[in-house]
Subunit: 638 residues, 2 copies
C-alpha cells in the first residue's frame, strides 16, 4: 500500500483497515469519532481495486465516485495508493459545495419577458413655437413609442423633469417598472408602467433581495439586467436587543414607541448592509430600484410598521399576509425613494413569506415526489406536499437550536462548537470550532451533534438523563444538576468549562419533539406516513449546518435514507432573489401562498399527543427510527 | 304724480322727466352722471301707464319688467306712482344677484353615478381559529361584497387596521375613491377603488374646490354626498409678496429656495382658508378627502413644486398642462394626507386650468351659439367657439386692470373707487367707493369707468391725450405730466389727491389694446367677424365688476348689444366645483382641454398689427364700434 503525498510504501495485511495501517506507518489522520465511522473526517482518496468500503457515511455520492473512502471503514484487500488530503481540504469541501449551490443561478433568466424594472433611452424632438407640447406629454409620447402606456409619473420626477430633459438634450435615460400581465399570456399592445427614474446620466437597474430573519438579515445585490448577484451580505438583525424571538419582539412592539423603534432598528441593519454592499460594488443604495423582501410574518409586520399584537393572541390573526407593495420612501428605507418594496406573501401568522420563498426556491410545487420542506429556526416551519397539494404548519421549538435557553448555548458565530465527536471508550470529545480558535460555547448544530454523540455513547439515556455514574470525569453533578463537560476551562476562550446540563437536554428534547410532532401532524392530516416521504428539503441558514445522521439519531428529523435529504441553504433569500428577478416566479409565489393549507397546531389535539410521544430519544415508538434501532441493537442497546 | 315712501303728491307737467319733478318736489335722488342716463343710479319703481322710457341703460330686463325706470331718462305722460328706493338697495341689488348666481347648483347632481369619493359601512365576521383570514383579507372581502375590487390599501391605513377593526367590532366605516370608467358606459362588475379612510366612527365625505389665482385664492367646502356648498372663503395669495404677476413669480422661483418658498406661501394661504372654513362649519381640514384645483399654469406649477422657468422663455413650454393627481401628503397640503389632489387640466403655458374650468362652468362646449369667453386679469385669456370647436389665446395685458402700474391704482379692496361718473358740463366727478369710506385709489373697474367718462366728456381725446386746456381745475399739469384729479386730498383716506395721469392712460390703452387684439386674432384665425359673436361670457372675479357700456366705450370689449354679455363671476371655482363633484364633468374638462386649439400670440404677426390698430379709443377703425360712433356723432364728435 502506497501513500501520497509522503511517497511512503508499506506492506499491509489483507483484512486490515486503512486507518490502522496509516497509524502504523506513523502518519497522521484525523479520527475525532474514534474510528467509528461517524465523523467522516478520515476521508482519503483510494486508487486501485484492493479496497472494500464497509460504510461511506458522510461521503457524498460524488465523493465516492471520485474514489474517496473513510479510512476507518475501509478494509484492505489488495494493492492501493492512498492519498491523505490535508484536514482543511476535507472541511473546506463541504463549505465550498454549499457556497457554490447558493450562488448558482437557480433558473433560466430572460429579463425581457420576466423583469418588471427596465432601463431605456428615450429620444424626442426639442419643443418649438410650432410644437409646443409640454414636457410631460413629450416624454409620454416617447414612452408610448417605446411600448409603455399609460405610465404613472411620480411628482418627484416631474419636479426634476424640465431640467433633466434639457440637460439630456431631449434624450434622457429612464428606469421604469412595467406592469406585466398576470398569467403567461404575452400582452398585446403597450404595457402600463410606473416611472422610477429619469436622468441625463447612464443608469442601470439594480435590485435587492432581502431576507429579514429574526436573528439575521441577508441581502443580495442583484443586477436586474443580467440576473448576476453583484454581492451578498448578512448582518444580525438590530432588533435582537429588544428580544431574541418573535414573541418577545411582539411584546416589545406593544410598548410606547416600541413598534417605531423596532422598525428603525431593522432599517438601520439594512442601512449597514447597503453600506457594505456599496463599499464592495461601488453601487450607492440610491441606485436600487426594486426590493423584494422575505421574512416571517412578524418580521414583515415590524418592517412595514404594522402592529403585530394579534399575531400572538388566539386566534393568531396577522394584519396582512400579503401586503401590497409600498414605495421605499413610505417606510423610510434608504434605497431609491421611489423603489417598489415588495414584501412577499406569507400564509399565516406563523408561516410567513420566508417559507413561501423557501418553497419556491425548493421547487416544491414542481415535483411529483412527496416532499417535506423544513426550515428550522426559533420556530420550526414545515410544508408537506408536491405539485398538487401542500399542507403547512409551524411549531414553537423555542430558541434552543439557536443556542438560547441553553447554559453554554450561542449563535453560530466565531468560537461556537459546531460539531462534536465522542470516543465511545473514553467518552473524551473532539470538536470543530467556527473560526478555528478556542471555543466559547455550543451553537445549534453543535448541540444536536453533542446530544447525538452522548446518546450513541450511552452518556445520556433515551429519556434524556445524564449518566453521571459512568466513571468519566466529563460526567458530573454540576451547579445545574447532572452535566457533561465538552471543554475544560483552560482550553476555552473565557476560561470556564463548557457544559451541557440535564436542563439543556430537556430543552433540546422539547424543541426536537415539537418539530417532529409537527411532521407527524402534517403527515396524519393528509393520511400519509412519514416513511412515504420521498425527499426532505432542508432550508434556512441553520439547516445548512445540521448533520443529518445526528439529527435523526436524536429524533429531530424523520428516519429516512440520507440521500433523501437535501440541504438548500438560505432558501428564503434564494426564493426572494427569484421573485426579485422574475415576474413569473413572483406570481408562482402568490399562487403557492394560496395553495398552502395552514394547520394551526394550537387548535389541533393530535399535536399534543404527537409532541408527548416524541419526548424521548429518538422517540417512544422506536419503530419510527429503524436505522437508529439497528445501531442500538448492534451496540447492545445502550 | 305721487311719491313713495314720502306720500307726497305733485302735479307734474306732461313731457317732463321724472328726475326733474323729483328735484322740484325737494326729494333726493342720486345722479352721479349728471342726468345723462349713464350711471343707472337714479333707478325708481314706476307704477301706472303714464311713463315713456327713453333709455333703460344699466337696468336688467327683469328690472324693467318689474317696473323700474331711470328717473333721468323717463318722460312723464300721465298719472304715476313713483317709489324711490334707498341708494343702498340699488347698489345691493347687483351684488345680491351675483351672489345668488354664484351659489346656485349649476347642474343636476347624482352622487351615486358621478361621485368618486364614497362612504360606506362594512360588516364582517370576527375571526376564529376556524376562520383565520388576516385583517386585510377580511376587509377586502367585505369591500368586494359591497362592489369594490380591487381596492388599493394605503400603508398608513393598514397600520391602523387591526385597532380600528376591533374597536369597530368588525363593522368599520370606510371612505374610498372609486375609479369610475371613462365614457358614459355604466360599468359591469366591481369597481376598482382606493381606500382613503377606515374608522370606528362616523365619517362623511367632504371635498374642497380650490381656485388659486395669482392674486386671490378661493375655496368652496363641499358636502360630496349632497353637493351642498357648506361654506366659501377667499384670501389673497400669500405669494404676492414675491411678485404681483406670474412673470415676477417665475423669476422669484428661480432664486435659491424660491420655488420651495412660493409653494410654502400658497399652502399657508390655503391653511388660513381651511381654518376659516373649519370655524364656520366645524369640519376639520383632516376630513377633506378630495381636492380639485384650478389656477393658471404658473400657479399650478408653484402649487405642485414644478419649476416654471420654461413658461416664460420662448417657446413657452410648461412642465405639464395635465399633471396627474397627487396625494395631499406628497405636497404637504393640510387636508387628509391620503386625499386626492386633482389639479385640473390646462391647455398651454398661458391658458391654464382656470380657463378650462371656466369654459366648463360657462357650458361653452354645450352651446350652438358662437361664443366669446373671456377672463381678464393680469393676463387676458379668451376662448372663441361653440360645441364644435374652440380657439384660445392669452395676451399679456399687464397689471393695469388690477391697479398695478398706475399711479393711484390699487386692488379692488376697501377704499377703491370702483365706479366713476363725470358731469359733462362741469367735469366734476361722482364715484362709488368699495366699503363706502374715503377713497384710497382706483381699482380696475374704476379705471375703466373713469377712462370711459373722460373720453365721453371730452376730457381725454381718442389718442389718450389729457386735455388740460378745458378750463376745469380737475385737469392740470401734474408731476407726471397732464392728469385728471378724481378726488382732492382733503376728501381722501391718505390726504393726497387721487389722479389719473397721461402715463396711466397710456398703460390702460396698451392693456385694452392687447385684449382687443386677442379677440381680433381669434376671430380672424377662424374667419369670423367679432360682430358675429352671439354671446360674450365674462368670467373671473375682475369680470364681475366691469361696466359693459364703459368697457365698450374704451374699446376693451367688442361693440355688441349689451344683452349678449353675461357675467358669470368666478367661473374657475365654479368649474372646479363641478369637476370636484362629478366624474363626468371632470372628463368633460379633460376633453375640453384637448379640444381647445391654442394660438401663441408671440408667434403670430397678425397680433402686432391688431394691437397697434387698437391703440386708440375705442379703436382706429371706428366702424368696429358703431354704438360708440353713434354717441360720438350725437354729442358732436368730442
Amino acid at each position: 500500500m502506497a501513500f501520497h503525498p509522503s511517497n511512503l510504501s508499506v506492506e499491509a495485511p489483507s483484512g486490515g483497515l486503512i486507518s490502522e495501517v496509516v497509524r502504523l506507518a506513523g502518519l497522521e489522520i484525523a479520527q475525532p469519532c474514534g474510528g467509528q465511522g461517524r465523523c467522516g473526517r478520515c476521508a482519503v482518496l483510494v486508487q486501485g481495486e484492493g479496497a472494500r468500503r464497509r460504510s461511506t457515511i458522510r461521503l457524498s455520492a460524488d465523493d465516492v465516485a471520485a474514489g474517496y473512502a473513510l479510512a476507518c471503514q475501509t478494509v484492505i484487500e489488495g494493492d492501493l495508493l492512498v492519498t491523505i488530503p490535508p484536514q482543511e481540504q476535507v472541511a473546506r469541501r463541504m463549505v465550498t459545495d454549499r457556497a457554490a449551490r447558493r450562488l448558482e443561478l437557480p433558473f433560466p433568466y430572460h429579463p425581457a419577458e420576466m423583469q418588471t424594472v427596465r432601463a431605456l433611452q428615450l429620444r424626442m424632438d426639442a419643443p418649438s413655437l410650432q410644437d409646443n407640447a409640454d414636457d410631460l406629454t413629450r416624454v409620454r409620447n416617447a414612452l408610448a413609442s417605446a411600448g409603455y402606456s399609460p405610465v404613472a409619473f411620480p411628482l418627484a420626477l416631474l419636479r426634476r423633469l424640465p431640467v433633466v430633459l434639457r440637460q439630456a438634450e431631449w434624450s434622457p435615460r429612464v428606469i421604469l417598472e412595467a406592469e406585466l400581465a398576470t398569467g403567461s399570456v404575452i400582452p398585446q399592445g403597450p404595457l402600463p408602467a410606473r416611472l422610477l427614474e429619469i436622468s441625463a446620466d447612464h443608469v442601470k437597474p439594480v435590485g435587492l433581495a432581502l431576507d429579514i430573519g429574526t436573528t439575521t438579515v441577508t441581502a443580495y445585490l442583484v443586477d436586474l439586467a443580467s440576473g448576476d448577484v453583484l454581492s451578498t451580505a448578512a448582518e444580525y438583525n438590530g432588533q435582537i436587543r429588544c428580544g431574541e424571538d418573535v414573541i418577545s419582539r411582539i411584546v416589545y412592539s406593544g410598548k410606547n414607541g416600541g413598534l417605531a423603534e423596532l422598525g428603525e432598528l431593522v432599517r438601520e441593519t439594512v442601512a449597514a448592509l447597503l453600506e457594505r454592499l456599496e463599499r464592495r460594488t461601488g453601487i450607492p443604495p440610491g441606485q436600487i430600484h426594486k426590493v423584494s423582501v422575505a421574512g416571517n410574518t412578524t418580521m414583515i409586520h415590524l418592517f412595514l410598521g404594522l402592529p403585530p399584537a394579534s399575531i400572538r393572541l388566539t386566534p393568531y390573526i396577522p394584519v396582512a399576509n400579503q401586503p401590497e407593495p409600498v414605495m421605499a420612501g413610505e417606510i423610510g428605507l434608504g434605497v431609491h425613494p421611489l423603489a417598489t418594496v415588495d414584501c412577499l406573501p406569507g400564509v399565516a401568522s406563523y408561516v410567513g413569506a420566508d417559507i413561501t420563498a423557501g418553497v419556491l426556491a425548493a421547487e416544491l410545487a414542481e415535483t411529483d415526489l412527496l416532499t417535506l420542506f423544513i426550515d428550522v429556526g426559533t420556530n420550526g416551519e414545515m410544508v408537506l406536499g408536491n405539485r398538487d397539494w401542500m399542507v403547512t404548519c409551524a411549531c414553537s421549538a423555542g430558541p434552543a437550536f439557536e443556542g438560547a435557553g441553553v447554559v453554554d448555548g450561542m449563535r453560530a458565530t466565531q468560537g461556537a462548537i459546531e460539531e462534536v465527536w465522542i470516543n465511545s471508550d473514553t467518552l473524551e470529545p473532539t470538536f470543530r470550532v467556527i473560526g478555528e480558535g478556542k471555543p466559547r460555547g455550543l451553537c445549534g448544530s453543535g448541540l444536536i451533534s453533542l446530544l447525538a454523540e452522548l446518546l450513541v455513547t450511552g452518556a445520556v439515556d433515551r429519556a434524556g438523563n445524564v449518566k453521571v455514574d459512568l466513571g468519566s470525569p466529563r460526567l458530573r453533578q454540576g451547579q445545574h444538576g447532572p452535566e457533561y463537560v465538552v471543554a475544560w476551562g483552560p482550553g476555552t476562550e473565557h476560561g470556564r468549562d463548557i457544559v451541557l446540563t440535564k436542563v439543556d437536554v430537556d430543552n433540546l428534547l422539547r424543541a426536537k419533539a415539537a418539530i417532529y410532532a409537527g411532521f407527524s401532524v402534517l403527515a396524519e392530516s393528509v393520511g400519509v406516513s412519514l416513511s412515504d416521504v420521498q425527499q426532505v428539503l432542508v432550508g434556512g441558514s441553520f439547516g445548512q449546518y445540521i448533520n443529518v445522521e445526528k439529527a435523526i439519531q436524536i429524533g429531530l428529523l424523520p428516519d429516512l435514507p440520507w440521500d433523501r435529504f437535501r440541504f438548500l441553504g438560505n432558501t428564503a433569500v434564494l426564493g426572494t432573489y427569484r421573485a426579485l428577478l422574475s415576474h413569473h416566479e413572483r406570481q408562482k409565489m402568490r399562487d403557492l401562498a394560496r395553495k398552502m393549507t395552514y394547520i394551526e397546531l394550537s387548535a389541533d389535539n393530535t399535536f399534543y399527543n404527537a409532541f408527548t410521544a416524541a419526548l424521548f430519544l429518538p422517540h417512544t415508538e422506536m419503530h419510527r427510527f429503524p436505522s437508529v434501532a439497528e445501531v442500538w441493537e448492534r451496540d447492545g442497546g445502550r
